[in-house]
């Protein structure tokens, strides 16, 4: 091995021994110096709490201020009670619904910006679309409340058009509307990154070979951008699964999600930290699996840029 690379050893030998040692030292210190600040941060604020929660989740019925009982899997068995299972199912359905809505709304927009809009307008259009992300999610939720409340702008508009008024606030539709609105920009950004990379000559080639625009879309555009579609879908799914503000403010009591359930266990009336921890671990596991899928099958570049 060393004989095959003769160029580097003589170069190192020509340097004084102390300088060589110093180089080795800096090469060792450099990564440590760069990684320690964020490493400590992550360790204290992410890894340690997660481990703590993992421990608590195995202590059935742990409540703050009470002496801890024995370890057991009682918390995890409690999750499968119908009342809790329903909440989990609702959260997953919200996340899936939000992902599908974002995909259906976001793909045409991303396609239009990436393929059809004049190239000099593209950046401006993207910024316009991402603009809502720069306001606080709380603010956006309150904005939707003013729109959706019984005497809000939506119902004024509907009554002006002589259509029946809608009672969407504190119901499921409001949760879908609010969440889809929140995550649509992410979806558009990721899909745009993927569609922008799509070789437009492939679309011409498909058309040349006899494919109608619809056939071109399903047989070339979608398969070619599948990694981006997977990335956008999984990212929106993951974030909407853990969404707390929108279901809380727009969904009302009938729309309890896992996030709200966990909140209740820690800070609400029940204060069952053990049960809350087991829910947290369940969610971390689910999201980790989704992220693993994202990294394996998704278009990592566009997901990260998004």
């Amino acid at each position: 091995m060393s004989t095959s690379t003769p160029s580097s050893p003589p170069l190192a030998e020509s340097l004084p021994a102390s300088s060589q040692g110093w180089q080795k030292l800096t090469r060792l210190i450099e990564p440590i110096a760069l990684l320690v600040p964020s490493g400590v941060w992550l360790l204290l604020l992410l890894v340690a709490p997660t481990l703590l929660i993992l421990e608590l989740s195995f202590i059935p019925g742990f409540r703050l201020g009470q002496s801890a009982g024995d370890y057991g899997i009682g918390n995890y068995l409690e999750i499968f009670q119908p009342i809790y299972f329903q909440v989990i199912l609702r959260s997953v359905l919200f996340a899936i619904g939000c992902t599908v809505t974002c995909m259906l709304l976001g793909f045409p927009v991303a396609y239009w910006i990436a393929v059809m809009a004049p190239s000099r307008w593209r950046n401006l259009l993207l910024v316009a679309f991402v603009l809502p992300l720069w306001t606080s999610s709380l603010l956006r939720a309150y904005a939707w409340i003013t729109i959706l409340r019984p005497s809000g702008s939506l119902n004024s508009l509907l009554s002006a058009l002589h259509l029946p008024s809608q009672e969407w606030l504190n119901q499921t539709p409001a949760v879908y509307i609010g969440m889809a609105y929140s995550f649509l920009p992410y979806m558009v950004l990721i899909l745009y990154a993927s569609l922008e990379k799509l070789d437009k000559r492939l679309l011409e080639a498909a058309s040349d070979l006899g494919a109608t625009p619809q056939q071109t879309f399903w047989k070339v555009t979608v398969p070619q951008t599948l990694p981006g579609i997977a990335a956008g879908g999984l990212l929106v799914f993951i974030t909407s699964l853990g969404e707390f503000v929108v279901p809380e403010l727009l969904g009302g009591a009938s729309s309890m999600t896992i996030s709200r359930l966990i909140y209740n266990q820690f800070l609400g009336a029940t204060r069952n930290w053990g049960l809350g921890s087991s829910f947290s671990i369940l969610m971390i596991t689910g999201v980790s699996i989704a992220i693993a899928l994202l990294l394996k099958y998704g278009d990592r570049d566009s997901a990260l840029s998004g």
């Binding site: 070789d199 011409e204 080639a205 058309s207 040349d208 070979l209 006899g210 494919a211 056939q215 398969p223």
Partner: protein, 399 residues
């Protein structure tokens, strides 16, 4: 196998029926005119090339035939049917793209089968036709591979098979060999030519490579600046260019600018701007400014009204291989008419040929291409260059 069975009826018996017709076709992009009113007749079964420098509008022309662009004015017809407003997927043409544009998510087999699957062609027929197309381009062994796993030449073959499997009326080729290295390009030229003979299809190829166009085509249209300069067989284009641009673009030439001094029958006396007197006897008639006056008054043997308002400008073109280079002036008086003394300024050894640059007393530089027969001449040698008046073309200046 494909090379042995050559049914050679396409070249000699080029069908007089037309496959592609362009009538006064214009294309304007954002106020810039890419194609300025061109007319083209492409016969059935012919290998037709559109040749020109980049930006001359040749690719735009091809794209209008394929249907990716709509002409801003004029008419595009395929087999006598107007193609205006007909989308690409309804036109009886298929294209081999410059960068191949293969579908990366499909295997070679599925790429070739793409168009047949759209037409919901039967399973046995599909298998047969895709198999035949792959065999035609010698890619049968690569059917299960993905495009990314193929070399440039192999991708080119797949692109050809994909375009041919559909049995198009016209095969369009957009700089098909541009991305290949020289050796591979030569190989693919031979194969393209064989394929054309074998299939008897109409090929329309766009290229900027004049050698490729000359060696492959039945006819060539030379384009410049959105216009067709000349349409003709390769030898017509090379031997009898009609404009200075064509003479300069196709092969190397010595192009000298001058004024016509006199026209006597088919003989032109031209004085170049540097003061060289040249006699030209082009076989084609002078097509310049006062051709009408010299043609109509052929009985009138005196030189026409050149002393008048504008003395007629012209370019003289002499191919380097038609120029003789000797140490002494030629003995016979006829060839001595275009004979000039000069000094060797540049010698380039090309293997089979030697390229010389001779500087005349007037300062003109004449390029000479000689077969590598005798010993090389040294730089600075005093030499004589001469050429026959018949090898000298007089060309009208560009508008």
């Amino acid at each position: 196998m494909s090379q042995t069975v050559i049914r050679d009826y396409s070249v000699s018996g080029t069908d007089t029926r037309l496959d592609v017709e362009l009538r006064k076709v214009f294309k304007v992009y954002d106020g810039e005119t890419a194609v300025r009113g061109i007319d083209l007749d492409i016969h059935q079964g012919e290998f037709f090339s559109i040749l020109g420098p980049s930006g001359c509008g040749k690719t735009t022309t091809l794209r209008m035939i394929a249907g990716f662009e709509d002409p801003s004015g004029g008419e595009v017809m395929i087999r006598g049917k107007s193609m205006l407003g007909v989308p690409p997927y309804k036109r009886p043409v298929n294209t081999v793209f410059q960068s191949y544009a293969l579908f990366g998510h499909l295997t070679v087999w599925d790429n070739v089968a793409f168009s047949l699957r759209l037409k919901s062609c039967g399973n046995t027929e599909l298998r047969e036709r895709v198999g035949d197309a792959l065999q035609l381009v010698k890619m049968s062994d690569f059917a299960r591979r993905f495009p990314a796993q193929l070399s440039g030449g192999q991708q080119q073959r797949v692109a050809l098979a994909r375009a041919l499997v559909n049995h198009p009326t016209v095969l369009l080729l957009d700089e098909p060999l541009g991305a290949l290295d020289l050796k591979l390009r030569k190989e693919m030229q031979v194969e393209l030519s064989n394929l054309h003979h074998e299939l008897g299809l109409t090929f329309v190829m766009v290229t900027h490579d004049q050698e490729e166009a000359l060696s492959l085509s039945d006819r060539i249209a030379v384009m410049n600046n959105g216009k067709i300069e000349q349409i003709g067989t390769p030898s017509e284009i090379y031997e009898h260019p009609k404009t200075a641009f064509v003479a300069d673009f196709i092969g190397d030439t010595n192009l000298l600018k001058g004024q016509i001094e006199s026209i006597y029958a088919e003989t032109l006396q031209i004085v170049t701007d540097s003061g060289l007197h040249i006699v030209a006897k082009p076989k084609t008639l002078w097509n310049g400014a006062d051709s009408s006056s010299s043609n109509s008054s052929s009985s009138n043997s005196s030189s026409s009204n050149l002393s008048g308002s504008h003395a007629s400008e012209a370019f003289v073109s002499i191919r380097p291989e038609k120029v003789h280079l000797e140490l002494s002036p030629p003995a016979d008086s006829i060839s001595s008419r275009n004979c000039y003394a000069g000094k060797l300024k540049h010698v380039m050894y090309l293997g089979t040929h030697v390229s010389y640059q001779v500087e005349l007393a007037t300062g003109d530089r004449i390029a000479v291409l000689q077969p590598n027969r005798s010993s090389l001449m040294d730089l600075g040698t005093s030499v004589y260059v001469y050429w026959a008046a018949e090898d000298c073309l007089a060309l009208a200046p560009q508008e």
